[in-house]
Amino acid sequence: METVLIKVKRQDDPEDLPYWELFEVELSPGMTVAQALAMVRENPVTADGNSTSPVAHDCSCMEGLCGACAMQINGKARLACATFVEEFDGPIMLEPLSKFPLTRDLRVDRTRILEALSAAECWIPLDGLHPNGNMPVIEQHEQARMSVFLDCIACGLCSEACPQVNKRSAFAGAYLFSRVLPLNLHPAGKGSRGGRLAALAARGGVADCANAENCERVCPRGIPLVAAAAQLQWSVALHSIRRYFWG
């Protein structure tokens, strides 16, 4: 029986001390880290044969669309359901995302993503839900440009990989750019650009991005986050100049 070793950084609750546990799981062809974790969940016994509690972790759609299973896999920010165990030689080390408050084991609390999106007013201020006959014409190339950013699943991997997201900074992560930019480009959202740009001009906004470009490397949706940041830095600068001269 071919097996794979999984080493999990565990922590029973946010105040407790972390510890490591090693699990040995039967390997099947094309197996993902998420599948391996499901096997540990079903049979929570360590490689030494000791019973333990099941490893807490989030996992939902299993096809890379919900972003629930974001974690650190061998030190890299990745989705467990899109990472295949055959990629690795030695034991696979699993750790929770470090940029979000820990809940337990590999589970973290990502509600701050919602807070960051709210703070940046990441929405189009609709008149209401009633139909009003406004179906904006959007040229194909504009649509394609918006579409790549709207693929964002808010998994938070970009925040995890970013050196600027830390305890001393208010920067939330590059997902903010991916959410703001398509709204600014959208015919229905252009009018409300000002509010979003003002939010990005404040502390924790575009100026806090130091162009480390890690976000783009770990984004599971392949979103051009560096280009988004550059574009928004430019827009914010223009917006600030305009406001300075014309109020």
């Binding site: 972003g67 629930a68 808010a154």
Partner: protein
């Protein structure tokens, strides 16, 4: 709480839940949205087909009436015509609404919305967005929900799980009991009305193409408290799912509409079954029709060869640029899977449970039989009849959600509302759920609940999936009883009082078993073949007897089934030929 600002609880933060929350908030309600995870993580994210609406932008003289006729035929005439028509009339406005919220639908070179033809439809009608319409629509709706929260009209409670209803005089719903999935606190919350938007139950089946939490637990909990459950026997399969990475991924209908071809491998040669059997619709038929055709052909090919046959989706003959341009959601489904290169080799596919048509019984306004309890989206049974047309999942969830939101607000302002639950009632509801926890914690034995869940799924897929047979179903019912017995001997694997996901799983497992019984019992009762419900022993549709909705009432041993609600159609149902 003053009557002018009713308090409404929405359970679930998928597409339907957010639509319900927005519509209730717009009508002046104060909405609390309870969900297991943040709004982006719902099962709606995996909906790769877009949204259907008779936008009539392809020069085909499409209309809401045609959209409704196609929808009803796809559902094998088991949906109330008036309701389907109203939905189809609202559809173009809903696509517009999503576009105004920021969804960038695919465009034609002229800048108009590009439409594709879903299986079984007569016109090009589905607008899709980028690599995943579900993800894009969730993103747009969640942005509006955050806006409603900033305006203090809505309040998000992610990380809480719905457990049961608080019921007052005569069973009326006046709140919910929920559990915090972090600190495990159980709380009873009073409300003027509750809207269940927790999705369907595909995940109780093995080989499902949904999220692991799409197990219908919340709807099943309401059913156990007296809500009627409608049409549980109707389960939607898709023949075009990729089985990889421990999951089945449903491919969008667009792949066939834009020139991809489905075939069964017979003696090493491609056998284009669907095109051969359904030349008039170029092989673009509803999912249940396609599933059976491919399934039978695979059996036939396997018989001839003596080894299992395989089915494929082939886009290798298409111009690569054209294909990547027209089928982003198809390529997205294949992306990252080792050994898969759709441009150079056909992609192997198999049948998987994609969605469920059954759900809580609701009236035209999405009210269940319990006063104050509403349901929308896949948690409700309303628009799909015996089969779902691609593009109608998103449409019905948004339309139904908005309808439920406004109906719940109107109800709360009316005289029927039970009003705020007294604290004694809330405490009683809470302690009932604490007893459930104690009961689960006391389970002892050597069984494993996860293994039982898996066996249950395999049993359901084998007996209540593609083809159903009464003798097998009856055996299956007995086996479910055995599995329930084994489950009661499965201990709780996690004893922690903090973020205990096992407890939640075990509680949901109880609901799974009750739903499984319901699906099988309702399948046994319906002796006909209609849409996704297919019994080889009863090959034909029987409109004289079975043009009715199954309405199930919960009972301790087996559900009571009522078949008295006839479907209202303006004209006599046609033959369902493609």
């Amino acid at each position: 709480m003053e009557k002018s600002s009713p308090k409404i609880i929405v359970i679930g933060s998928g597409v339907a839940g957010m639509a319900a929350a927005l519509s209730a908030a717009e009508r002046g309600a104060f909405v609390t949205m309870i969900s297991r995870a943040e709004p982006f993580r719902s099962s709606s994210s995996r909906l790769r087909d877009g949204i259907a609406a008779a936008l009539d932008m392809a020069g085909e003289c499409d209309s809401a009436a045609l959209h409704a006729a196609d929808t009803i035929k796809c559902g094998d005439f088991l949906a109330h015509e008036k309701r389907v028509k109203a939905m189809c009339e609202a559809a173009p406005g809903i696509v517009e609404l999503l576009a105004r919220m920021g969804v960038a639908f695919e465009r034609t070179p002229e800048g108009m919305v590009r439409l594709t033809r879903p299986g079984g439809a007569s016109r090009r009608r589905v607008a899709s967005a980028g690599r995943g319409s579900g993800v894009h629509v969730l993103s747009a709706l969640s942005s509006q929900v955050l806006r409603a929260q900033s305006m203090e009209r809505a309040f998000l409670m992610p990380g809480w799980e719905f457990l049961s209803l608080v019921q007052g005089e005569g069973g009326a719903c006046c709140g919910v009991v929920a559990q915090n999935l972090r600190n495990m606190e159980i709380k009873a919350i009073a409300a003027d009305a509750v809207i269940i938007c927790t999705g369907g139950y595909p995940a109780i089946f093995a080989r499902h193409a949904a999220a692991a939490e799409s197990d219908g637990a919340a709807a099943a909990a309401c059913y156990a408290q007296g809500a009627l459950f409608a049409n549980p026997e109707f389960v939607q399969l898709t023949p075009f799912a990729i089985g990889a990475a421990g999951k089945w991924r449903a491919l969008p209908d667009a792949v066939l509409a834009e020139g991809g071809r489905a075939f069964v491998d017979k003696d090493g040669r491609p056998w284009h079954v669907l095109e051969e059997l359904f030349p008039q619709s170029q092989g673009l038929v509803p999912r249940d029709v396609a599933v059976r055709a491919i399934w039978r052909s695979m059996k036939e090919a396997a018989m001839a060869e003596g080894s299992p046959a395989k089915a494929f989706i082939d886009v290798t003959h298409l111009d690569p640029d054209f294909a990547e341009d027209q089928l982003p959601s198809f390529f997205d489904a294949c992306e990252g899977l080792p050994g898969l290169d759709p441009l150079h080799a056909p992609v192997e596919v198999g049948p998987a449970v994609f969605a469920t048509m059954g759900g809580l019984w609701t009236d035209e306004d999405h009210s269940t039989n319990i006063p104050g309890l509403f349901a929308a989206g896949s948690a409700a049974c309303q628009y799909h009849g015996a089969g779902i047309q691609a593009g109608n999942e998103l449409l019905s969830s948004i339309y139904g959600g908005m309808k439920a939101g406004s109906a719940a607000t109107a109800f709360s302002r009316g005289t029927g509302a039970a009003g705020a639950a007294p604290s004694a009632m809330l405490n009683a509801a809470k302690s009932r759920e604490e007893d459930v926890v104690a009961h689960i914690a006391a389970q002892e034995g050597r069984e494993n609940a996860h293994a039982v869940a898996r066996e249950l799924g395999e049993l359901l897929f084998a007996t209540a999936g593609i083809e159903k047979d009464n003798a097998e179903l009856k055996k299956s019912l007995a086996k479910i009883g055995e599995l329930a017995d084994r489950f009661s001997k499965a201990p709780l694997l996690d004893r922690s009082e903090w973020a205990n996901a096992e407890l939640s799983f075990m509680r949901r497992m109880r609901q799974r078993l009750s739903l499984a019984k319901l699906v099988v019992a309702a399948s046994i009762a319906r002796d006909e073949s209609r849409g996704s419900h297919f019994k080889p022993a009863f090959q034909n549709r029987d409109d004289a007897k079975w043009l009715v909705i199954t309405k199930a009432t919960w009972a301790e041993d087996s559900p009571t089934l009522d078949h008295s609600e006839r479907i209202e159609l303006a004209t006599k149902p046609d033959e369902r030929a493609y």
